[in-house]
């Protein structure tokens, strides 16, 4: 059997297993978050099934990033319940081995090139989703592979961040405005990559202002209502 078919079979098995274990990867019930006394999220309800792509859309300040932080266990809820993989999310290694989150630009390690950051990402995860060379090509970073991330443009750094998040294996991908700094061509490519990820059994929840990206996902507003 060809290696690609092998991988596809493994992924289908994984998706089936996930669906049998969890009816929903994410379940949010009656979630209210107040920041500095102001309600940012109020009585939110949300359920996300395995393999789904969910786009959280809404104007600035509507609570999109706060919702993602709640799902990542980085923002405590004022009231209500958040469950990810059937448990309250916890900011620990066991959780982050299953969840990849991309918010603001990460602090790149000094003295490493873009390629070495991806190599490091591949080295710490037993089964990387992509080869480093493949990721550099997919994210159009081949020519800048030897540059320190600080010397890349904003868009290139965002592509490197996305490459890091998509190279590693994960079950849930949390993305906060992944289109930030990307040109129109790559935004369309990103939508394909996310569909590919979901096709392999991964679940995506992203906050976005990009209509095309949101158009290829189930759209919700931070109030929990389908947009």
């Amino acid at each position: 059997m060809a290696p690609t078919e092998n991988r596809r079979d493994r992924l289908c098995d994984r998706l089936a297993r996930l669906e049998s274990v969890y009816d929903s990867i994410i379940s949010v019930h009656d979630l209210t978050v107040e920041l500095g006394g102001n309600p940012v999220l109020r009585d939110m309800e949300l359920t996300v099934s395995p393999g789904e792509i969910v786009a959280v859309v809404g104007p600035n300040g509507s609570g999109k990033s706060t919702l993602l932080r709640c799902l990542a266990g980085l923002q405590p809820a004022t009231s209500g319940e958040v469950r990810v993989f059937g448990e309250p999310p916890a900011d620990d290694a066991a959780f982050w081995r299953r969840v990849a989150m991309l918010g603001d630009e990460p602090a790149w390690y000094p003295g490493l090139t873009a390629r070495e950051h991806l190599e490091l990402m591949g080295a710490v995860h037993a089964e990387a989703r992509m080869e480093v060379e493949g990721a550099l090509e997919v994210f159009a970073l081949v020519e800048r592979a030897d540059a320190p991330p600080l010397n890349l443009s904003t868009g290139q750094r965002q592509r490197l961040s996305l490459a890091s998040a998509l190279l590693r294996p994960s079950t849930l991908l949390l993305l906060d405005e992944p289109e930030r700094g990307l040109d129109a061509g790559f935004r369309a490519r990103l939508a394909d990559l996310l569909e590919e990820y979901a096709g392999e059994g991964g679940t995506v929840v992203m906050a976005t202002h990009d209509h095309d990206l949101a158009g290829r996902a189930r759209q919700i507003s931070p109030s929990g209502v389908d947009a």
Binding site: D91, D92, A93, A94, W96, R97, A100, M101, L102, G103, D104, E105, P106, A107, W108, Y109, P110, G111, L112, T113, R115, E116, E119, L120, M121, G122, A123, V124, H125, A145, D146, A147, P148, L150, N151, S164, A165, R168
Partner: protein, 500 residues
């Protein structure tokens, strides 16, 4: 735009007018009472320090100890090299961020605009020169005529630092002068090494016993040479490229913000980022290691990519031995070794610092924090252990700390690695913490707590070594066993205390 392109009619008065306008729009200047308080404070300082200073100066009278002259002169050469390097790293000519943004690209006379900075640089050079002169007289001794020899040494010191600062300014204005700055720094370092080996003992002996007339001639020649360099540097202010000034001003702004603001750790970030941004790297394959070690490998690679810094760090391990030759007490020597090895450990924990300040990448990597911390302790442990062992071995060899003291180098390494990791992972200064009023003045507990974080663990983990230093000379076996246990306990305790 070059400063030479001055618009007609734009002269020194224009700069004064602009500055006066800016002052009038800024916060009100201190009133008469503020000036009185400042003046009174200075007068009190002079009154308090006057007597001890006179005692110190009178204590300098007499011939210097010949055994300590070489080491002392080497330390002075190192200090001057450090001054040159610091001046070059700082810019040294720079402006405030606002002036660099608004006044630098204007048609104002560049030399007049930079005049205030030039005066500050000169004042700094004079202050450093006076200290250097004091050091010179302490090293060479005063066989006769204390006041005149002190004056001569001060003139020599100020000439050296003012000339050095002028060289740094000239280096900012043109590339060929940068070569001179580098050559002067290297020459001083070489002189320090040659001096500490004792090969210049005769020259130093001649200098120490030189007649007053020879000192006067030397001071006059040095002052004249320095004045020439300063004049040349003043004339070159026009020629410093705008880009160079903006870069220096921006860097100084970041550093000032970090230093007086909330996060001194930002200085490390700025230095690191500036260094790597200017380097051309070539990617190398990541070794196949277990996840925590693969993560920690980043620090190994980063340290390996700066072999010059690594070499300089290890060359500095001879410094405690030089201090010993200059007459340092055993406690001072031990403290120098511990402080040096802690500093060496601290430069190899960059990954922990980044992850602590911004954990986004570490969350993507998903490595257990406790395991990552343990893996990241290996490099600082090796480096600090090697540095301390070398430093202590050099001290044993030169008679500063005779015996098997070098064993403490290896045994203190785990505690120093834990301390370096704790320093790297501390948060910004908490300025909301209370200020304690004491008879000696107000103590802000936020910065104090920040400064002690990490050092506390080093002191705790090295207590047996410190106790051995403070005890009368005797067998070290018990202290060594206690140090082995304390070092290991501190490291294990620190790692285990961190949740996964």
């Amino acid at each position: 735009m070059s400063g030479a392109d001055v618009a007609p009619g734009v002269d020194t008065r224009s700069v004064r007018v602009v500055r006066a306008y800016l002052r009038s729009r800024g916060p009100a200047r201190g009133g008469l009472l503020d000036r009185y308080v400042a003046g009174f404070g200075l007068a009190m300082l002079a009154a308090v320090l006057g007597h001890p200073l006179t005692t110190v100066l009178q204590g300098l009278a007499g011939a210097a100890d010949p055994a300590r002259v070489s080491a002392g002169a080497a330390l002075l050469a190192l200090a001057l090299a450090g001054f040159l390097a610091a001046a070059r790293a700082a810019g040294p000519v720079m402006l405030s961020a606002a002036d660099a943004s608004w006044l630098l690209p204007s048609p104002l006379n560049r030399r007049h605009l930079l005049g205030r900075t030039a005066r500050v640089l000169f004042t700094v050079a004079v202050a450093a020169g006076l200290l250097l002169g004091l050091g010179l007289i302490a090293v060479l001794g005063v066989p006769d005529q204390l006041v005149w020899r002190l004056l001569g040494a001060m003139v020599l010191g100020v000439s050296a630092t003012a000339g050095g600062m002028a060289l740094a300014v000239l280096g900012q204005a043109s590339q060929p002068w940068q070569v001179w700055v580098t050559s002067a720094t290297v020459a001083l370092l070489v002189a320090a090494v040659v001096t500490v080996t004792g090969q210049l003992r005769t020259v130093l002996a001649v200098a120490a016993s030189a007649p007053l007339s020879a000192v006067a001639v030397a001071a006059a020649v040095a002052a004249a040479s320095s004045a020439l360099l300063v004049r040349h540097a003043w004339a070159s202010l026009d020629r410093i490229p705008t880009r160079t000034l903006v870069t220096a001003s921006t860097r100084a702004g970041h550093v000032a913000n970090a230093a007086v603001g909330l996060d001194p750790d930002a200085l490390t970030w700025i230095a690191e980022d500036n260094h790597w941004r200017a380097r051309k790297l070539s990617s190398r394959r990541w070794p196949a290691l277990p996840a925590p070690l693969a993560l920690a490998w980043h620090d190994w690679r980063r340290v390996g990519r700066r072999p010059g810094r690594l070499g300089t760090m290890f060359a500095m391990s001879a410094l405690p031995a030089v201090l010993a030759q200059a007459g340092g007490a055993p406690v001072t020597l031990g403290a120098a070794v511990l402080a040096g090895s802690l500093a060496v450990a601290a430069v190899s924990v960059s990954g922990a610092r980044r992850d602590s300040d911004n954990p986004a990448l570490s969350r993507l990597l998903g490595v257990d924090r406790r395991q990552a911390l343990a893996a990241r302790a290996v490099l600082p442990m090796l480096l600090s252990g090697a540095w301390a062992t070398l430093g202590l071995a050099a001290l044993s060899a030169t008679g500063g700390l005779p015996g098997a003291w070098w064993l403490f180098g290896l045994l203190t390494a785990p505690a120093l690695a834990a301390a370096a990791l704790r320093m790297a992972r501390r948060g910004p200064v908490d300025h909301s913490m209370p200020i304690i009023d004491t008879p000696g003045g107000a103590i802000p507990t936020g910065p104090l707590r920040w400064a002690l974080t990490g050092v506390d663990l080093a002191v705790l983990g090295c207590l047996p070594a410190v106790a051995a230093l403070l005890s009368p000379p005797g067998p070290l076996g018990g202290f060594l066993a206690a140090q082995a246990a304390a070092g290991a306990l501190v490291l294990v305790g620190y790692v285990v205390r961190n949740r996964g």
